[in-house]
Every structure is written in structure tokens, then in C-alpha cells.
Amino acid sequence: MTYEAVIGLEVHVQLKTRSKMFTRVAAGYGHPENTLTDPVVLALPGTLPVMNKEALDKIVRAGLLLGCEIAPECKWDRKNYFYPDSPKNYQISQYDQPLCRGGFVEIELPGPARNIMGEHRRIALTRIHLEEDVGKLSHGEGASLVDFNRAGTPLMEIVSEPVIHSADEAFAYLTALKAVMIYGGISDCDMEKGQLRCDANISIRPAGDAALGTKVELKNLNSFSFVRDGIAHEVRRQVAVVGSGGKVVQETRDYDGQTGESKSLRSKEMAHDYRYFPDPDLMPVRVDEAWKESIRTGCPELPFDKQRRLQKEYGVPYTITSVLVPDRALSDFFEEAARLCGRPQAAGNWIANDLLRELGAAKLELAQSRVTPRHVAELVVLVETGAILSNAAKEVFIDMFQTGDLPDAVVARKGLRAETNPDELERWCSDAIAANPKSVADFKSGKESAINAFKGPVMRAAKGKADPKRVDETLRRLLAG
């Protein structure tokens, strides 16, 4: 019997806002404990929530980018439960009226090789709603400690349909979703900072069946790789359970990425009973056409649309676009450089290879780079016109990465301009030929490699600044004469 995995993902994404969802104290990560609180966050008596307009703009933008239907009107609900991470004893969320419904995430599955584009698919979304994040608990000696800095941070929950069928697909989904969020300036999606969190609902069924099997919720998937590994592990576990005549039990399991094991979370029999009801403290949200239009105008091109356009418009290959496009700033950098020099392929190579390598080695972000699109463009032109040779260009690149000087200045300072005086080159070649009659005879008798014997002396005479291609041409012409 072969089984098919059926996976739905619930992804929580913190919105990038200055203040919290329902109050104006700052939102942020990495601050000392309990320094980002106010009476609303702590649910002190008499406080009232007030919506953050920017958070609403951002979820509308997320919805538009993902092709969702934006609710013309929606309300807020209280999700009631007792847990010390939530001082109100309820979380403000959206129950039956999410702000966004439907939509999809375009994903790219792994290709047959890293340099070959994989198949693209659309993963349908169920809904996206907005809520507030909760505080953070740490468990100490005989007690738990609560830090409310995170409590009240705008949090979007993105729910996919159960249409994902493998761990690789789930990984591709998260990768694509993250890219859209970053392009849209909606969230930085840094998992280490808890800005993106993922739970997976996983079940298996005999391949071809339409009915869904019993699902297991996998929690604590705190990196993209853990999501992939955790899902693969859970699917294997379920197939083994069913294969040995057992039944999958509906439960929540915790996946430990370090050990690669999962264990059942014995949440008490208490089935979730959140007693949702409309929050009387908050008025509804109405999104009209004018609002949607104003957000739509500011929406960026989607990453995969951009990748297709770069390949079509500039003729740059997948190997380059797949490196550039996941980073919006990097792909913008590329477009600027390509436009300035008119040589997109060469510019793409410098950026995807040399620039990224240097940034990585120096542990710098693109925004901190001293090399600008203009630097890359001018360097490309110097190489293309033969003003400098490619090995000299590498040296120029590293220099300008460190100094920020433009290529011309670096070339002049380091004396790297290629030797282009044809008379001089002609003389060096003649001298080399005259000094080595044996190799001349060898070459003329058909020993092709004999020509290399002349190149060393020529390059030495040129102090390495002669174009090897031109040296070769000149030698052949003189030897033929």
C-alpha cells in the first residue's frame, strides 16, 4: 500500500510595525525583559485597545500580494483561555470573519539540479487573519517567568489548505511565503527572532483516496529545515503506525530538531473551547475600494514575477536570477547595474558571485556595501572594452569592495590597465619567437602546444598585463608569416 501525505501549514508572521497591535508602546525584539509594556499590554483595569492602522495596511497588502479576497468588513473576537503568557485571559483575534480569504502562494519545487529551475505550483490558502502575539515564558526553578515584551505584537496567521504533499513542498512554501513577506515589507520573517513560526497539520491516506486521515499537529518547528525534517519524520511515523496495523491518534506532537524525534504533548483531555465572542471594545474594520487601491499601488512585483521578467528582459540565466531574486534589494541592485552598463549577464555574474562572496566574508549586509551598482557597471565596461583583464578585474573588485573607490580610480592607483599598445606587443612576440627557434620548428611541424613556450616570456615582458587572447593571436600571425 502506498500512502500520500496531506499537509496543511499554519504560519504565524509578526508584522513589521513600530508599535503594538492595539496600543502604542513600541514593538520589538531583543529588548530587556518587560521594557515594552504599558497598561494595555498588561491588561490593567480600565484600559481599551485601539487598532494600529499600519498593521491593517500590512495585512491588506499581504492579502493583495497573495491574491486573497479582502473582506469588505470584519470584526474582532475574543479567544478565551487561561495561560500566563496572556494577561487578559483572552487573545484578540478574528474568528469567523478573517480579513483575507482564499488566495495562493506560488512555490518552486526543487529542480533536478541546483542550476535547473524546478516545477512551479500554487498552494491554495484558506485564510489570513490578524491577532495579537502573546508574552514569552521561560521555565525556571519551581516557577515560570513571564516577559510581556512580545505580547500585543501584530501577528498574522496564514492558513494553507491541506494541499501540500511532501516535506519538500512545505519547505518550498515557507521559502516562497517568506520572500513575498519580505518583498512587501510586511515582515522580516526572521525565525530566530520568532517573527515567523510554523505549525503543521499532517495526515496520511492511501494514495488516490479523497477522504482525509486523522491529523496530527506538529509544533515547535523553529527553522525551515526543522519544518522539512519534522514533516518527513512525522509522515514516516504515521506510515509505520498504519503499516503495523495501528491507528494514527489525533494529537499534538512536539518535534525536536536537534534529536530528530517527536513526542506527544499530553495536553489534558480539555478539548479546545475558546468561547469566541465579538470583542465589545473594538469597532469593526471596513476596507473600501479606495483603501485597497491605495495599498495595491504600493505593492511590489512578486518575487517569481520578477524572476521571470529578469530572465526574459535581460536574458540572465536561472542560475543567476535564483540567487538575486530571493533578496529584493539585491535584485534591485542588479537591475540598476544592468541598466547602467547594458551588460546584464556580466553584471549579474559579478553580483551573484563576487559581491555576495565578499559580503559573506565580511559579514556585511548589502545596505552596508561600499560597492554600488555604479561600481559594478563601470567595472563591467572596463573589462568588456579590454581596458583591464579579467584577473585584474578581480583584484579591482576586491579593492573597491574595501575602499569604495570607483574602478577607474583603483585601476589607476594600482596600475592595472591592460597593455594595449599593439606595437609593443608585436615586439615582445617577435623577441620571444626569435629567442626560441626550436619551439618555432616544433610548432611548424604541427606540435600545437609548442606555442605555449613563447607565451611565458611575452607575459613576463608585459608584467602580466597583456591580454592572453591577443598574445595568442599575435604569436600565431607572426609564426604563420
Binding site: N34, S138, A143
Partner: protein, 96 residues
């Protein structure tokens, strides 16, 4: 009169984390039953021409711009905490 089972009093009490004695159950069942009967009068109102709404007021989009303002100092934030440690609130150990 509603009986404790009808009201799912045990379930409601457990959701509210309240332990009730048998006497209290009887007493609260009566009281809650009265409240529900009182509210049930709303069922007699003809609302066939009324749109469902979560609010009585036709007000929408009450919001503030996203401008961060100073919050509480850690000292003030923790002032009401029955117990504190390392600038955090101490609660009974919860492990899920």
C-alpha cells in the same frame, strides 16, 4: 428550573478554573438558570428584518497611526506582581 447537567456547570467551572462544592453547584445552577431564562426573552423579539452586527453603533475604522510611544518602566510594570524575579513576573510553573 435548569439542572446543573443542562448548564454543563462542571465544564463551565473547569474552563473558569473554579472548584465548586456540591452546595455551590446547586446554588449557582439556580442563579445561572435565572439569568439564562431572563436573557432568553430576547428570543421573542422579531429580528427578521435586522442585519446581524457585533456592535450597536455604526462606527468603523477606529484606529491610531503607528507611532511608538514610551511605555512603562520595568519597575512600574512589575509593581503589582505578587512575585518577581530577573525583571519578570513569576507564575506557578506551567509546562506544556
Amino acid at each position: 428550573m435548569a439542572k446543573p447537567e443542562d448548564l454543563r456547570l462542571d465544564h463551565v467551572a473547569s474552563l473558569a478554573r473554579i472548584a465548586l462544592t456540591p452546595d455551590e453547584k446547586v446554588r449557582f445552577a439556580t442563579q445561572l438558570g435565572d439569568v439564562l431564562a431572563y436573557v432568553a426573552q430576547l428570543n421573542e423579539v422579531d429580528v427578521s428584518g435586522v442585519e446581524p452586527t457585533a456592535h450597536a453603533f455604526p462606527v468603523v475604522n477606529v484606529w491610531a497611526q503607528d507611532i511608538a510611544e514610551p511605555g512603562l518602566s520595568v519597575e512600574d510594570a512589575l509593581r503589582n506582581a505578587p512575585e518577581k524575579r530577573d525583571n519578570m513576573f513569576v507564575v506557578p510553573k506551567v509546562v506544556e
